[in-house]
Symmetry: C2
Subunit: 238 residues, 2 copies
DNA sequence: GTCTATATACGGATAGAC
DNA sequence: GTCTATCCGTATATAGAC
């Protein structure tokens, strides 16, 4: 599977996230008509991500958000009780969506290398489609309230553990060379972050998503001493 | 050279940075006595980094800074004309200090692999000593005014070019295997950032600076196919 | 459901006493 | 050189008309 195919697949389930937000925040959202909520939440989230990623969530004023969405100040507060709750909603729902996709694309694999390859490719592709979200998670994590912060850290740790257990399994089966698991997992996550944080730099250097995913897979094959280095040519494992 | 030695060497030139700040901002700093300026700028910079790294520079109020430094609101403004200028001073002076150290530790090498090893080790060590600064550069880069932003980007690009030219040179001499230079350089920078951004995670996993530097060097030796993989055992090249 | 007008608090920055 | 008191703009959030 290449990026174009992945993208097509994802766009199908695009609006799910808003239905979920509505369901989870029913009492906080004063608007009754679901269709209106979906339409405006979409605007609000998009605008929030856009402005925040330029100058930070704190620096974004509600008037900025007004202007960008075309929704008045008063009306905005019908969709969330406070600016802080808007942050919370974005974070929680975004992370849930990401986790769901990663799970659905990787849990099917048995062999560690297949799983690792799928995880890398899915993560890179997903962070490309949802780049503003990933950038936002990364930059605004420190501004979360304690409760959301705790959830974020737990989610992060869960991903990390899955990565580490895949590496460990691969080592036990003799599929991977022996490497420091913690450091290797951290490195993989660092390379993921590199993609969505320095997105514009890669674009200016004409490096595509597919190239980056291939690069990471080839790189790991090399580092872990995996014999099947076909990660970049054959996509049959994903 | 290991981290302890590097640290000792660095601490000697610790106060230089403040003398430079004073020299470069003489007209903006209303205080006459140099000793007072050095003492208080130290407090102000430390406090700014501490608070900003917790909740962001924008979110830090001047009153926060008052409390943390123990210097009153009015007095603070004797050391810089505006909050924005404080940001500018921190960025400019910090970056200059970093660049100077990196230059002094790497320009002496002729062979690419020696240069690359020295660069990696110096960068990792330096980002450990100056962790709050590096974190600050990374997180606040997008909040700079256009002029400082331009300087920051230029400096960044210069580092990048040096890294890329080292890689290219190594390839030409047949010392390194052929790899995508841009991607490799970006990866190295990503791994650098990983260290100072996820510092606390590495601490909780009991991974030391030396281990991380060794890891990166070994890693690159592997990736570039360098035969001398002694980066982690023998430090004689640095 | 959406708007405009406004309450209230907090931000950066300055004045002027000591 | 440092302090306290204050100016004034802008922030979040709400009230109440339409």
């Amino acid at each position: 599977m290449d990026y174009q195919q992945f993208k097509k697949m994802m766009l199908a389930s695009r609006q799910d996230i808003f239905l979920e937000v509505i369901a989870e925040n029913r009492e906080n959202i004063r608007i009754k008509k679901e269709k209106t909520v979906v339409k405006n939440l979409d605007k609000i989230f998009k605008a929030t991500l856009k402005i925040s990623n330029q100058k930070g969530f704190q620096a974004m004023s509600m008037r900025d958000l007004c202007q960008e969405t075309g929704i008045s100040l008063g009306a905005l507060y019908a969709y969330f009780p406070s600016k802080d709750d808007l942050l919370s909603m974005l974070m929680t729902q975004g992370r849930d969506a990401v986790e769901r996709v990663l799970d659905s694309e990787t849990l099917q694999f048995d062999d560690p290398w297949g799983k690792l390859k799928a995880f890398i490719r899915t993560h890179v592709y997903l962070s490309e489609i949802m780049r503003p979200w990933f950038y936002f998670f990364f930059m605004e994590a420190k501004n979360l309230n304690p409760s959301d912060r705790k959830k974020a850290i737990e989610g992060d740790l869960a991903t990390e553990m899955r990565l580490e257990s895949t590496l460990e399994e691969g080592q036990k089966l003799g599929q991977f060379e022996k490497r420091d698991i913690v450091l290797t997992a951290e490195m993989i996550k660092g390379l993921f972050a590199n993609w969505y944080i320095k997105r514009s730099k890669f674009r200016s250097r004409n490096i595509s998503v597919d190239q980056y995913a291939d690069f990471m897979i080839e790189f790991m094959a090399d580092y872990l001493g995996v014999e099947d280095q076909l990660g970049k040519v054959s996509g049959e494992n994903m």
